[in-house]
């Protein structure tokens, strides 16, 4: 993964790309889709922005592959483990309905 870092023109292109993704997020939100659809689409776009930011702005793409594999999988694992609380959130909502 370690290779030569790009110049400023490439960074500006990445910056424009990120602005475009923000604009897409806003346009999607303005359509007022169902909450679940809005959440999934916004999260996907946010993770795409984060990946672009980490790889290019933070230059992880140009660092040793060992660094990438030491940091990112464990972070994703922690995020995955945090995602086991949602069943309890829905249970809380159902309990509120029953009151």
């Amino acid at each position: 993964m370690a290779n030569q870092e790009p110049g400023m023109k490439f960074n500006v292109a990445i910056w424009v790309g990120l602005l475009v993704i923000v604009a897409i997020e806003t346009v999607i939100a303005l359509q007022h889709p169902p909450a679940r659809t809005l959440l999934v689409s916004l999260l996907c776009l946010a993770f795409l922005e984060a990946a672009i930011g980490v790889l290019y702005f933070m230059h992880l793409k140009y660092e040793s592959a060992k660094l990438f594999w030491s940091l990112i999988p464990i972070l994703l694992f922690v995020l995955f483990m945090m995602d086991h609380v949602w069943a309890d959130a829905y249970r809380m909502a159902r309990m509120s309905l029953l009151k």
Binding site: A2, G7, M8, N11, V12, W15, L18, L19, V22, E25, T26, A29, L30, A35, L38, L39, L42, L43, L45, A46, E49, A50, G53, V54, F57, M58, E63, S64, K66, L67, S70, L71, I74, L75, V78, L79, M82, D83, V85, W86, D88, A89, Y90, M92, A93, S96, L97
Partner: protein
């Protein structure tokens, strides 16, 4: 060839980094991963309370709230670009340009923080608080919104202070390009966190 992070006399005692980077850069990456978990936990907590609530308030109109947040997003993204320019100038050894680009980055960070505080005080004046909801819905909106954005704002402000220290240190030749790059990692992380905060806390709560 390994890079020693201590002076020449101690070089023989330093093992080469397994990642080919200086210790301070590795330490910053490890801090960033842990801080990402912290923000993720806060956002999951926000999501948990929101899903569990039958009466969640969506207080933000497109104008002026979402437009304000959009401008803040553009400012923060632009500050990442100026930070990249500073890192590039540092690697080229151009000290005046580094100082200038770091100055622009700090200025944009300060503007972001000022806009954020202005938004906070507007919400306070409307009756919003950590446990106060003037629109009559669940009070957890305030706690989650101010909690998440407050932690992010703290990161932005401390980042601006850190960049000032780096700028002064680099200009006086006490610090080198690696310090600028390491500070840049932190600043980009703060921007990336906002890429989650903006859609989840602003766009998801748009009326």
């Amino acid at each position: 060839m390994s890079e020693a992070t201590v002076g020449e006399g101690h070089a023989a005692l330093i093992e080469s980094s397994p990642y080919g980077i200086q210790s301070k850069k590795l330490a910053m990456w490890l801090f960033i991963v842990s801080d990402a978990c912290t923000f993720a936990a806060l956002l999951v907590g926000y999501g948990f309370l929101r899903i569990g609530s039958l009466n969640w308030t969506k207080p933000f109109d497109f104008s002026p709230s979402i437009i304000n947040a959009l401008v803040m997003t553009v400012i923060l993204l632009t500050s990442s670009l100026t930070m990249l320019a500073a890192v590039g100038a540092a690697k080229a050894g151009n000290r005046p340009r580094v100082f200038r680009w770091l100055g622009f980055t700090m200025l944009l960070g300060a503007i972001f923080a000022a806009m954020h505080l202005r938004e906070w005080f507007k919400l306070f004046s409307e009756g919003w608080g950590l446990q106060a909801n003037p629109m009559g819905g669940d009070p957890q909106f305030g706690a989650t919104f101010f909690g998440v954005t407050g932690l992010h704002l703290l990161h932005v402000v401390s980042g601006v202070v850190a960049l000032a220290v780096i700028a002064l240190g680099y200009s006086s030749k006490r610090l080198d390009a690696n310090h600028v790059e390491t500070a840049g990692l932190y600043w980009h992380f703060v921007d990336i966190v906002w890429m989650f905060v903006f859609p989840l806390l602003y766009l998801m709560n748009m009326r």
